[in-house]
Amino acid sequence: MTEFLLATAGVILFTVAVGLVRILGGPGDADRLMAAQLIGTGGIASLLLIAVATGAHGVEDVALGLALLAAFASAAFVNSAAPAENSDVADGR
Amino acid sequence: MTSATLAGLVGAALVGLGLYGLIANPQPLRKILAFNLMGSGVFLVFGIVARKGAAAGLQADPVPQAMVITGIVVAFAASALAVALVLRLFEDTGQATLDPEAWAKPPDGGAGAE
């Protein structure tokens, strides 16, 4: 069973790695931000699997912290990039 | 090779990578990233010291772990100060470069002059 959990963690990390190769290169910033989202979901899944397989204690809190912060990269991007790059905000006011 | 040794080797490689980025990347923000990368490499080397010090029923020596935790917080504080400096430079000169020749001819508009 342990081996199965570790193998699935490995497969998920592999799919994450393949996805990262595709989207870290862009073309747009939106694609790059998806990389942060992808590693958020896949990273949490493999983190939980590895923790159960290796018997590391207290890992739920780490995953909980990561889950809480999973949307922060996108939020920071939207927050700081919005005024610089769009024009429709100005006339919406 | 144990997983701890592997992590230590990754740490060593990260220090090299970060140092190279610190020297070779001209943009200050990239230098900050590189510096953080270098720092985390050092933390990982600490991590292997902790893991190899597993004893007394613990899976890792707590003393290096505690030092890494303080280190992460201090690294964040330093990065925040560095980012604030770069942004201030950008506000004052309209550019974020460490090249002194570029400052000699500030862009017109004189943004941020008090």
Partner: protein
């Protein structure tokens, strides 16, 4: 080769590849997102090293809060990237720098390989006196009891960083609130996210702080999660950043190191040693100090992310 070893090697390659992307990516924004991904992968590595406390810190500060700071900066500095032709190193000095860095990395790698399998350890000593502190988590005991002086100074570093960031304000803004004046409407999605996330996050942050006495967690990690919640609430414009000359804010930021120092001095008087805790009263004292540390961290980190004041203080 077992499955675990294969996984470790794959993880190591992934961490290295993402780190290399952060250094060699074509644009600063791409590099910054790479750094956020890298931070999350590092927490996985820390789990593999059985350093769960460190993984928690890395997850909250290394990836989350630093990510907000750097992505914000990268988005704002974007204009400088295309315009200015940065002078980069010549080919020869690049090769020289690469050789130098490879040398440093190889030397470190040699040190790692030469470490004995059972290295020197302070684990027995830290377990031996754990009962006297009343704590169950040796990492917290190291932070707040055995090496309390380090941790206190580290809190001072945070205060100094806040002072440093604030002092970058233009003269007329001194004492004002950080963040640019923006008239545009906040993103409704962001507001929705913050409204749901913040209460849950505050609960998790306090939980992480509280269990830190006996399980992985503690003041740093709990404080960082609380700080992240304040950051998202400010990003969603549900609340504005406070005036930096507000007395409560300044007091709260220095409260952590001040209470810590006061406890150290009190230890010198009552328990016969600087930062000594009176026997039988150690755990309440430690939790008391930690509570103020959480407060200071939860306020200092968002102020560091928010940057120097950008608005004039009200007269």
């Amino acid at each position: 080769m077992s499955v675990l070893q294969a996984l470790d090697i794959g993880l190591a390659f992934l961490v290295f590849a993402v780190a290399a992307w952060t250094i060699f990516a074509p644009g600063a924004f791409a590099a910054t997102v790479g750094y956020v991904v890298y931070g999350l992968l590092l927490s996985l590595v820390w789990i593999r090293l059985f350093a769960v406390d460190v993984a928690l810190t890395e997850a909250a500060i290394g990836s989350g809060v630093t990510g907000v700071l750097l992505i914000g900066a990268a988005a704002r500095l974007r204009a400088t990237e295309s315009g200015a032709q940065e002078k980069s190193l010549s080919g020869a000095s690049r090769v020289f720098a690469a050789a130098l860095c490879a040398l440093v990395a190889l030397a470190l790698a040699a040190v790692v390989l030469l470490l004995p399998d059972q290295g020197p350890s302070l684990a027995p000593q830290s377990m031996q006196h754990l009962a006297e502190t009343g704590l169950g988590n040796p990492v917290t005991a190291v932070l707040i009891a055995y090496r309390a002086f380090d941790t206190m100074l580290e809190k001072v570093v945070l205060v100094l960083a806040v002072v440093g960031v604030w002092s970058l304000a233009a003269d007329r803004y001194w004492g004002g609130a950080p963040g640019e004046v923006r008239a545009e409407l906040p993103e409704p999605t962001l507001a929705f996210l913050a409204q749901i996330l913040a209460p849950l996050g505050i609960l998790v942050g306090i939980h992480v702080f509280w269990v830190g006495a006996d399980a992985p967690g503690g003041a740093f990690q709990g404080g960082a999660i609380l700080a992240a919640m304040w950051i998202i609430v400010m990003m969603a414009r549900l609340t504005e950043a406070p005036q930096t000359n507000a007395v409560w804010l300044r007091l709260a930021i220095v409260a952590g190191p001040l209470v810590f120092l006061a406890a150290g001095v009190a230890g010198a008087i009552i328990a016969g040693g600087f930062f000594a805790y009176p026997p039988g009263f150690a755990k309440p004292a430690i939790l008391f100090i930690e509570a103020f540390m959480v407060l200071s961290i939860a306020l200092a980190l968002p102020m560091l992310v928010a940057g120097p004041p950008r608005r004039e203080p009200p007269r």
